[in-house]
Amino acid sequence: MSDQPAHSDHKHPSVGTYLTVAGVLTVITLVEVGVFYVPAFARVLAPVLLTLSAAKFVLVVMFYMHLKGDHRFFKLFFTLPLVIAVVVAVALLLLFGTVSGSPS
């Protein structure tokens, strides 16, 4: 193992950045729960919650998993299966009529 790099060869974010990201993640979670309880958002609940969830997902992956600025191989090995998983999920939802709301 000693012939391997001790840690990543790219610069990690600062502690301040980590704390800022944690603050943003907390605020987004509070907004998610708030939106869930506000009747006015009922019609747009799904797109709003999915957007907020995607924002949290990206923040953690980019800053806490250090994928932002990391080598393209790492990005590729994560993004490709993620895209396949999302495509399969959407295909299954369409196939079983879950998205259209009319179960087959």
Partner: protein, 194 residues
């Protein structure tokens, strides 16, 4: 940004363990993608209750979600401490991460026990089957992560987790943050959109 002398020891110039671990995380994306898809496909098709609307406790799960998010913060702070060779803070943040992870598992255990008492089991209906398999698989991942973190803590207490071993902590961190992002999706899809 450029790396050191050690980089030339692998053909890609990258740490093989980290490359392999990203591939593992990619495969985990497919695993959780299939479980979440299965939950969504069967959503609303249970012929008997309890249903998600009747049983899910959003305030409680919001708190457990916050706990897991904060564990991710503790994890990156632990990594930062290990990289700068600060053994005291690396131990404290590793312990904090493990405790927050254990706290999340406590919330999940409480939720599972409550659901069983309210009549929702793995066999009750499609919701019960898909819910327990999805969240149970995630919980098992959190449990493995907690054991991994405690192992790192023990290594640190033995004086065997210096800055030269930062990659070990970084890889454990990748696993921990992945478990966190999976929960971000589960919280939205299973709890808030149900």
């Amino acid at each position: 940004m450029s790396h050191p002398a050690t980089a030339h020891h692998t053909s890609t110039g990258l740490d093989s363990r980290k490359l392999a671990f990203w591939m593992f995380i990619g495969s985990e994306c497919l695993l959780f993608g299939s479980l979440i898809s299965t939950y969504l496909v069967y959503q609303g098709r249970s012929v008997q209750g309890p249903t998600p609307e009747e049983i899910l406790n959003i305030p409680l799960t919001s708190i457990s979600t916050f706990v897991l998010l904060m564990s991710s913060l503790a994890m990156v702070l632990a990594l930062a401490a290990v990289i700068r060779g600060d053994r005291t803070w690396s131990r404290l943040w590793l312990l904090a991460t493990a405790l927050l992870g254990a706290g999340f598992l406590g919330f999940q255990a409480y939720e599972f026990v409550t659901f069983v008492h309210e009549g929702l089991t793995l066999q009750t209906n499609l919701f019960g089957s898909t819910f327990f398999v999805l969240t149970g698989t995630h919980g098992a991942h959190v449990f493995i992560g907690v054991v991994w973190l405690l192992t790192l803590l023990v290594r640190s207490l033995q004086g065997k987790l210096g800055s030269d071993k930062a990659m070990n902590v970084e890889i454990a961190g990748l696993y921990w943050h992945f478990v966190d992002v999976v929960w971000i999706v589960i919280f939205t899809v299973v709890y808030l959109l149900s």
